[in-house]
């Protein structure tokens, strides 16, 4: 495993040499303490690791049954891992691929000889990719309205990974700020080639074209591919409830012009714009109906399904494909603390993803605030705000373990049969 334990100041410390003997840690520590706030952060972080970080489940997950090795980190057990993390108190724990050569020895060989062998299939969905369509917040900010993009994404991607690709060990994690990560951990997924990963991403991706291209979705024909057919429901619900209603994408000229720009036919565009400008208070759903029937009524074949494409463009998941395709990307570990927000990157149960509220996830400060002193006696499993997430994570690692045992049994049985 490439575990990247890093602090805000990218400066290597001296005493890491021996630690780096058998793993690739780009280990950096907080050298200069900028303010008392960051000093607190470091202290609380240590406390958090000590008290709450679920080392045992974490270890069970990443060792994939290979006890004594956590990828390239040679830790005998979760206790040793814990001791090391406590010693270093890393501000960030990033997880990368498993390489053929100890990452530490990387510099002794040609770059081309250093190749990643195994890597979970990962997905990264970030709210910034929705900035062109969300009306509520911008940049790093999120609210419950735009969080729905993430909820829809989990629903759609999770279903496809399970039903279409047959994956069983899928972990969704809050990225700590404005997005989500997905880890597909099946044996088969970890061994996928770059080519296969690219195929999966292309299969899942729908939006094409850069900023200059207004129309980013182009499905043809009345009948959709099953993937899109099954995605249409969640997308439509999201579009109606969130985009039209809560975000009001058709309520002001400023916003609806963006949407109308997708329509390539100028006369239809102007016609709708005029009509909506005349009575801007028409309910959004009525406006949307107008648009739909106007497009359906046009005889042009490229407009017939345009309304559906617009709906997809405003709600279908937007993946950062590079993260998924390459094997080299580092991804923040579950249960680490986001250094900027102080929020804990807790796993999200996809079945309950609509209940997840990113604005109330536990933060480092909150966990150790004075009002919470009574809670301080509780373990992570007992803390109300963590409970469900820890349990979900534990179950996830248990199911991985069960699958491993079942596979082993199968292998033994087969070898006896011969």
């Amino acid at each position: 495993m490439t575990v990247d334990l890093e602090s805000r100041k990218k400066q290597k410390i001296e005493d890491q040499d021996e630690y780096m003997d058998n793993m690739d840690v780009d280990l950096v520590k907080l050298e200069e303490i900028e303010s008392s706030e960051s000093h607190d952060f470091q202290t609380l972080l240590k406390l958090y690791y000590q008290k709450y970080f679920p080392f045992k489940d974490f270890y069970n997950w990443l060792s994939y049954g290979n006890n004594s090795y956590l990828r390239f980190l040679s830790f005998k057990d979760s206790e040793e891992l814990k001791a090391e993390i406590l010693r270093l108190c890393p501000i960030k724990i990033d997880i990368g691929a498993i390489y053929n050569i100890k990452p530490k020895d990387k510099k002794t060989v040609q770059a081309s000889a250093f190749v990643p062998l195994e890597r979970e299939l990962v997905f990264d969905i970030d709210m910034t990719d929705y900035d062109d369509i969300r009306t509520c917040c911008e940049g790093a900010n999120i609210c419950l309205k735009c969080w729905n993009f993430m909820t829809v994404s989990i629903q759609i991607i999770h279903r496809a990974l399970e039903d279409d690709f047959g994956f069983k060990h899928i972990l969704w994690v809050f990225s700590g700020r404005r997005g989500i990560h997905c880890w597909v951990c099946d044996d088969k997924a970890r061994l996928l080639t770059v080519e296969s990963r690219k195929a999966i991403v292309n299969y899942l991706e729908l939006l094409k074209g850069g900023e200059s291209q207004a129309r980013k979705v182009n499905t043809r024909g009345s009948v959709l591919h099953p993937l899109l057919e099954k995605s249409l429901g969640p997308c439509a619900t999201h579009f109606d409830r969130i985009m039209l209603d809560k975000m009001g994408i058709l309520n002001s000229k400023e916003h609806w012009s963006k949407l109308l720009a997708i329509i390539p036919d100028e006369s239809i565009r102007n016609e709708l714009d005029n009509e909506w400008s005349k009575s801007p208070d028409t309910p959004a759903s009525t406006k949307w109906d107008m648009l739909q029937s106007r497009l359906k009524g046009s005889k042009k074949s490229n407009l017939e399904y345009l309304a559906r494409d617009i709906l997809f463009q405003y709600s279908y998941p937007r993946l950062d494909s590079n993260v998924s395709i390459g094997l080299n990307h580092l991804l923040k570990s579950p249960f680490c603390v986001h250094p900027k927000t102080g929020k804990v990157c807790i796993p999200i149960n996809p079945k309950l993803c609509h209940e997840f509220n990113p604005t109330t996830v536990p933060t480092l400060n909150g966990l150790f605030s004075d009002d919470n002193t009574s809670d301080f006696l509780l373990t992570i499993e007992e803390l109300e705000e963590f409970k469900a997430h820890v349990e979900y994570f534990k179950n996830f690692t248990l199911r991985l373990q069960e699958a491993r045992v079942a596979k082993l049994r199968e292998q033994q049985k087969n070898s006896l049969d011969f």
Binding site: D163, D164, F167, N202, Y203, V223, P226, E229
Partner: protein
């Protein structure tokens, strides 16, 4: 059917049964070489054509000449014995080349690429009967799934609260939307057909792709590829024992060298155009820089220099068509007619294996360039060997090399360490920031290697 053809019932061969009869060394060598010519033709045709039909057209003459295979339909006209001989040569030569191309992963993947393409071309150009026969003979487990059973499976998985008829109707529409001709389906792990998955041209269920009859060829190609890969590994493991046959080793080694020069493989030829050459010349090693400037100065290069520079350009990815444009432009004091008459175009096509012996020439290595002997009015060869120290110094000054390095490089060149001098120049001009400069654990061995290191290093620096 003639009993001799039982061994090779069709022109298509999965190459499962290794040669059983004795064969003399000479035949071994000529058959191997003939097949190699075919594979090299496939390789270079692939670089130049996008469409498979065009690739086939391009290699057809080589096939006819070196490895012709006649179909069973002409058995009466030509006789079974000829057909048998042709097929035997095809099979044997394939197995011979396996011996030469199993040794390194690079050789293996080159061989698999060409053999797979050759097989694909032959497959698509064979008759339906032949194909069916082959599929049967190769014992590929390809039992199709009918539309109805696919629907059943889907219904079991997804049909909720709707009648089977309703579901079937919708499913038929879906099939029509996804497939061109939805009749029979084959179930494969999705990662076997990445292109179809990526384009959503298949239905996926539980990790399996259901590919249509029309794409069945993909399965056969997959099987061919997997089988060959496995066999090459096996051969590689068995080879040490064979190495004891001392007569074979040199032949095998030379066979392996013909397609891939030891240090350098021709890049996939994407994108370098005639107009790019000048821009890219900052990455040229000294030998090519001096040819490039001589060409600019004189609008002409002599024969040997044209070969040395022309093959180098081919190596950096200049396609035949672009090469013709580049040379025609560079010889700008000449009329089109003169250019044709003097055979320059022929020369260029020759370099690309399209004329004469039709060998796909690879770029010259340093050793070869250093050994060549330019006369006083020629400009090829290695400058570190043939330039006077002063001329060398001047050239380096023009490249803004510092005086300490210049002295050092001049000294190395004078002592006869040309490639080390060349390496030192690379390091001096690329600087320590250039990641590749520090990686030159070994001296430059090939001008194209110099180019690659220089170019890729720049790319890297820019990205960061």
């Amino acid at each position: 059917m003639d009993s001799r053809l039982r061994e090779y019932p069709t022109t298509l061969n999965f190459y499962s049964i290794p040669p059983t009869s004795q064969i003399n060394l000479e035949e071994f060598e000529t058959w191997s070489l003939d097949r190699l010519q075919v594979l090299i033709a496939v390789d270079s045709a692939r670089l130049r054509c996008k469409q498979e039909a065009d690739i086939y057209k391009m290699i057809e003459p080589v096939l006819t000449q070196k490895m012709e295979l006649k179909a069973n339909t002409v058995i009466n006209a030509l006789g079974a014995s000829l057909l048998y001989q042709q097929r035997k040569k095809d099979a044997y030569s394939h197995f011979f080349l396996r011996l030469a191309y199993c040794k390194t992963p690079d050789l293996q993947s080159w061989f698999i690429r060409q053999e797979l393409m050759l097989f694909k071309l032959r497959f698509t150009n064979s008759s339906v009967e032949e194909r069916e026969w082959f599929v049967k003979e190769a014992k590929l487990d390809l039992s199709p799934i009918s539309t109805d059973s696919l629907m059943e499976m889907k219904y079991k998985k997804e049909g909720r609260g709707e009648s089977k008829d309703e579901f079937a109707k919708k499913f038929q529409a879906t099939l029509k939307a996804v497939y061109v001709e939805p009749i029979n389906f084959y179930k494969v792990p999705f990662e076997k057909v990445p292109e179809l998955v990526g384009k959503r041209q298949v239905i996926l269920m539980d990790g399996f792709a259901y590919i249509p009859e029309s794409e069945r060829v993909l399965l056969i190609l997959n099987a061919f590829k997997d089988h060959l890969k496995q066999e090459l590994e096996n051969t590689a493991k068995a080879l040490p024992r064979m190495d004891e046959d001392d007569r074979l080793t040199p032949i095998l080694n030379s066979l392996a060298k013909q397609s891939i020069s030891k240090e350098y493989r021709i890049s996939d030829g994407d994108g370098v155009t005639a107009d790019d050459v000048d821009k890219l010349s900052i990455h040229f090693p000294l030998c090519m820089k001096s040819l490039h400037s001589a060409l600019k100065r004189d609008s002409h290069l002599k024969h040997m220099a044209r070969i040395q520079f022309g093959l180098f350009l081919k190596g950096i990815g200049l396609s035949l068509d672009e090469a013709l444009i580049y040379w025609r432009k560079s010889f700008n004091r000449m009329t089109d007619e003169e250019f044709q008459k003097k055979g320059y175009a022929y020369n260029i096509r020759y370099n690309y294996g399209m004329e004469g012996k039709r060998t796909n020439y690879t770029p010259y290595s340093c050793v070869k360039i250093i050994q060549s002997m330019p006369s006083s009015n020629e400009s090829h060869g290695c400058p570190f060997r043939y330039f006077s120290p002063d001329a060398l110094g001047e050239m380096m000054q023009n490249m803004n090399v510092d005086q300490v390095s210049i002295n050092d490089i001049q000294l190395k060149a004078r002592e006869g360490h040309y490639q080390i001098a060349c390496t030192a120049l690379f390091e001096a001009t690329r600087g320590k920031a250039h990641e590749q400069a520090q990686q030159l654990a070994e001296p430059i061995g090939h001008p194209n290697q110099y180019f690659d290191y220089s170019l890729n290093g720049i790319k890297k620096v820019k990205e960061e």
